[in-house]
């Protein structure tokens, strides 16, 4: 029973990462936008939903006690708008400069979360975030399985929506812009317009994932949104295969398994006073796995899958 409960807990966390990876796959895999500020958009979503749904707290702004679903919608909207503004301001930049700028945005978000105490609760974070199925907390197994079901449904919806988009004419334009911007422009596609859209939708998904995670754990703090989060999500996407939504999901589960497994292993193998140092071995484990997978599958596990036509007719016989 404990194992099932832990499995549900593990999968819930992994699927939350999968939602973030799906957002990054839209930005990078489909459109070629180098976002190194993933953690910032996750944080914006988490804090937005937390402020909207927690009970009123005189020590800080809000909360407004709204339903969780409203909080999630708000998280997507605010993170999406933040991404659109970032995108609008930066998409003229070449990919390496875009990366530096988005990293800067992420650091700014984390610093605001840490220092704007009246808004975010500062270093102490925001607690008492309402949890779905809180009434089941007395029976952890049922509680974990219920949360897993919700996160699985959200992940499935995000995956289906992105699959639909990536095979649509909209997705075709994004792929064209990624491959050859000048050619796509000559065919009437506005590079800036589509890139801002892709950046915003990806950012909204990251915000949604942040909100889902906040309501799963019930507590958030600035440390949750350190650059390490961005690193983890990038590794998940690269391992799974950028450009593939399936790869984003599988990569997330696999990398999180290695991350959690190596964490459990170091906890067992090393004495308590060495635990802090031993934690670095998790990063080593992920790095080694990344190297091994890229040696054997340079495009990641599912990176070679090409998108098949969806709306089209059957192939015409050679004329």
């Amino acid at each position: 029973m404990d194992l099932i409960g832990y499995g549900a807990f593990f999968l819930t966390t992994a699927l939350i990462f999968a939602i973030i990876s799906l957002g990054l796959n839209l930005q990078w895999g489909l459109t070629g936008l180098f976002n190194v500020g993933v953690a910032g958009f996750v944080a914006i979503g988490a804090y937005t939903s937390a402020l909207m749904t927690t009970p009123d707290d005189p020590a800080r702004f809000g909360g407004f006690g709204l339903p969780i679903l409203i909080g999630w919608a708000g998280a997507m909207a605010v993170a999406g708008i933040a991404a659109a503004v970032t995108g609008f301001a930066t998409l003229r930049l070449r990919s390496d400069y875009l990366a530096i700028t988005t990293f800067g945005v992420s650091v700014v978000v984390q610093l605001v979360a840490l220092n704007a105490q009246k808004l975010t609760g500062g270093a102490f974070g925001v607690g008492f975030i309402p949890r779905p199925f809180a009434g089941l907390a007395e029976t952890p197994l049922l509680f974990n399985l219920s949360n897993l079901a919700i996160v699985a449904v959200v992940t499935l919806l995000a995956w289906l929506a992105l699959e639909h988009l990536s095979r649509s004419p909209w997705g075709r334009v994004l792929k064209a812009l990624r491959e050859d911007e000048r050619a796509a422009i000559s065919l009437g596609k506005s590079a800036r317009f589509y890139r801002v859209q892709a950046f915003a939708v990806g950012g909204a998904l990251m915000g949604l994932a942040g909100a889902v995670q906040a309501h799963f754990t019930g507590f958030i703090a600035p440390d949750n949104y350190a650059p390490m989060l961005t690193f983890q999500v990038w590794v998940m996407l690269i391992v799974g295969g950028s450009g593939s939504n399936l790869g984003a999901v599988v990569g997330s589960v696999l990398v999180w398994a290695i991350w959690a497994g190596s964490g459990a292993l170091t906890a067992t193998l090393f004495p308590p006073e060495q635990q802090a140092r031993a934690a670095s071995l998790q990063i080593v484990a992920i790095g080694v796995m990344l190297c091994v997978i890229l040696l054997f599958r340079p495009n990641g596990l599912f990176g070679n899958l090409t998108y098949r036509r969806r709306f089209g007719l059957k192939a015409r016989k050679p004329s």
Partner: protein, 275 residues
């Protein structure tokens, strides 16, 4: 310029209205004037050639017409509308399509996807329409695929329709670009060196298709170094040298013009040398 005067030019079409015009266009890069006070019109229904020695400013002129770069001064007029300040992606919606000197197929998209991309005004290119109007999007997509397949038939590439464009040879890539730009139903197509790097057999196919598309009413402006192709296809030829237009006429007329000969051969030759 061998052979220019010996080959009869295509019959000149009736004088049409201007589809595309340059009005005193100047483009300089610092102190270098790549295009200097150039004016001309491309008339409806014609195939106009733009030739000149390397460094004459032809490709810069092309980029100005296509909107890839903006003129320093002067005006580009497309179907009677001044378009100099507009971004490049709006030109095709106004009826101007272009191909590139080095073809730019979208290598990992299939041929049919490459062509379908050029369809204008597709509802499915709007994010929300894919969720709110799925049946309309699907219907438009089917119609676009039918049209794209017909165009691939036109350029003899339909058997490769579902292959990624990276498998194509250089000449086939030029044909794909031609089909792709035709998808947008342009009134005028700018062709940047369609013969460059193409073998003789495929070149004949390209010439045939350009002629066929022109007979459907599409106007062409082409830059080309292959004078045989220019003389066979073009109703009229403009010659640029050192950023300026120096001569205009049929292929045979410009071949005899002393200014053209001087531009190509540096003034050392006599008029007869150009033929």
């Amino acid at each position: 310029m061998g052979g220019m005067a010996n080959v009869a030019s295509t019959d000149r079409p009736a004088q049409g209205s201007s589809v595309l015009g340059a009005r005193n266009v100047v483009r300089h890069f610092g102190g270098l004037y790549a295009v200097n006070d150039v004016s001309f019109d491309v008339r409806k229904g014609e195939i106009l050639g733009l030739i000149g020695p390397n460094g004459a400013g032809k490709t810069t002129m092309f980029d100005l017409l296509a909107g890839s770069i903006a003129p320093s001064s002067g005006e580009i007029v497309l179907n009677g509308v001044a378009v100099s300040g507009e971004p490049a992606h709006r030109r095709i919606g106004r009826g101007l399509g272009r191909t590139f000197q080095i073809p730019r197929p979208l290598a990992n998209l299939s041929l049919v996807e490459n062509v379908m991309l050029a369809e204008q005004g597709q509802a499915g290119e709007r994010l929300l329409a894919n969720f709110l109007q799925p049946f309309r999007v699907a219907a438009q997509e089917r119609a676009a695929e039918e049209k794209a397949m017909d165009l691939l038939d036109l350029v003899s590439l339909s058997r490769l329709a579902h292959e990624p464009a990276r498998v194509l040879s250089g000449g086939q890539r030029k044909l794909l670009e031609l089909a792709r730009v035709m998808m947008a139903d342009p009134a005028i197509i700018l062709l940047d060196e369609p013969a460059a790097g193409v073998n003789a057999t495929l070149l004949e196919v390209i010439i045939d298709r350009i002629r066929e598309i022109n007979q459907r009413g599409v106007t062409f402006l082409l830059i080309e170094h292959n004078i045989d192709m220019v003389s066979r296809l073009c109703h009229r030829v403009l010659v640029m040298a050192a950023g300026q237009l120096i001569c205009e006429g049929t292929a045979a007329e410009v071949a005899r013009d002393p200014r053209v000969i001087e531009a190509y051969l540096g003034g050392a030759a006599q008029p007869g040398d150009a033929t």
